[in-house]
Symmetry: C2
Subunit: 308 residues, 2 copies
Amino acid sequence: MQNFELTILGCSSATPTSQRNPTAQLLNVAERFFLIDCGEATQIQLRKFKLKFQRINHIFISHLHGDHYLGLIGLLSSMHLLGRTVDLHIYCPPELKEIIDVQFTYSQTYLKYNIIYHYHNYVNNDIIFEDEKVEIRTIVLNHRIPCCGFIFTEKPILAHILKEKLEKYQIPFEQILAIKKGADFTTDKGEIIQNKQLVTNRMKPRSYAYCSDTCYDERIIEFIKGATLLYHEATFMDEMLLRAKETFHSTALQAATIAQKAEVKTLMIGHYSARYKDLQPLLDEAKSVFKNTILAVEGESTRLEFEN
Amino acid sequence: MQNFELTILGCSSATPTSQRNPTAQLLNVAERFFLIDCGEATQIQLRKFKLKFQRINHIFISHLHGDHYLGLIGLLSSMHLLGRTVDLHIYCPPELKEIIDVQFTYSQTYLKYNIIYHYHNYVNNDIIFEDEKVEIRTIVLNHRIPCCGFIFTEKPILAHILKEKLEKYQIPFEQILAIKKGADFTTDKGEIIQNKQLVTNRMKPRSYAYCSDTCYDERIIEFIKGATLLYHEATFMDEMLLRAKETFHSTALQAATIAQKAEVKTLMIGHYSARYKDLQPLLDEAKSVFKNTILAVEGESTRLEFEN
């Protein structure tokens, strides 16, 4: 089974604490290492958790609040100093290039590798990356400045066709791939044989939806529907609802409501305000609405499992 | 006795390790808190060591290599988010303002306090700060890009005039302050009475010289002469002398040679290359030339003592 695993590098909101770093996550989908946001000290977190950062070829920056990108320049510099020559792709707001360029200009840093920028169009379901294993689409979030979430979906895993069905229905060779991918089969007599009767180990592709930062916005639901894992920010408890609205953030209760309405399998909350030393109340609040909620915890990895 | 204490927040060179952060130091001179350089994660280090960063009103940035300033935007943001309204002075290369402005523009951050910039003139002995307790001057360093060190010198501590000498020499009232500050006294008969005969507890003002990053350059010696504490970078061991020259850095041996020639009281080395897990060989190398050498260690504070 191919890997699909999320590691939390930072789970704090704007002001980090001595215990929690600003947002950054490393997602491994079939040995593709995607860095999602890159708050200050991300490179230090990567080292601390012994994650090889030269394996990262794609970095996704949701928006230009400092707690989501300030670690980028340092990481890019270290990649350079440690001899990187492989292209690096950055998916980001267009203004990020200017921020990077001005700093490398003044520090007289001439990278030995290329950065290839892919700018957000701020359109839902925009495919920003695709290969044979995974595709990545944007989710438009509702924040104080333009902001994108991302949904990482693995490509359909081919099922096994049952040998006896191949013979029974005399399925032609050229239809096998489609059936492995999930298609039904129509016999010469026009009888439709459902895919589930033809194959074993059908597995719904897993998906990871990343939604930080955003206020409560039901418009995202259709784009994250049925995700295996949804990360949704939960900066505040619901008693701070007014503050959440003012700052275009969400409460744990709101994150759970989105999870419930989107019928995801698991919700992970994070982006905690520095005011919360103990995160259990945030977890309890979310669980009161959506039972299958977990906390983002730095250094911890979560494997995305297939649904049966 | 007024405080004069240096706390190391980061002592790594360009690529941080899981154990060492990039350069940042907090200097307390008579309850003035000076932040010297501000590498990535400085705000996290300040929290970790329980240092109140809102007490910092003056930040000194030596140069625009990322390992010396990348933590600044995050710190400025956190100061803002936590309600700062007090002016903040930044002493820096002029290009830093553009780097800060572009980022706050795109993040739509409107600080509730003023930043007052003081740009380096890259002139030795340029007084960049002065009040009744301390004065701060620049030291021109020799690095790959324009770079300034700083020397923090406390104002002369007034000595006590011996009462019997006041009477014996009939010292007029208007000369007392000068004598307390260290002047000799000339009697009516033209006899010069040396200051040390007139006062008790004469104390040489303490000074802290910060020299990072720089290659070996004896031109700095006259400006750091006799410093109580000299911080001099020692990125490499002397076996890497060629690499040190190429990168405009120094070796531990070179740092110690500067300390010896400048006749400082104590040398602190730092800015260690990530290749050195164990710092003892760097310390041993420096001590072979200048015995009174100590290592910069994160979280440790060094009090500057008066010389007898």
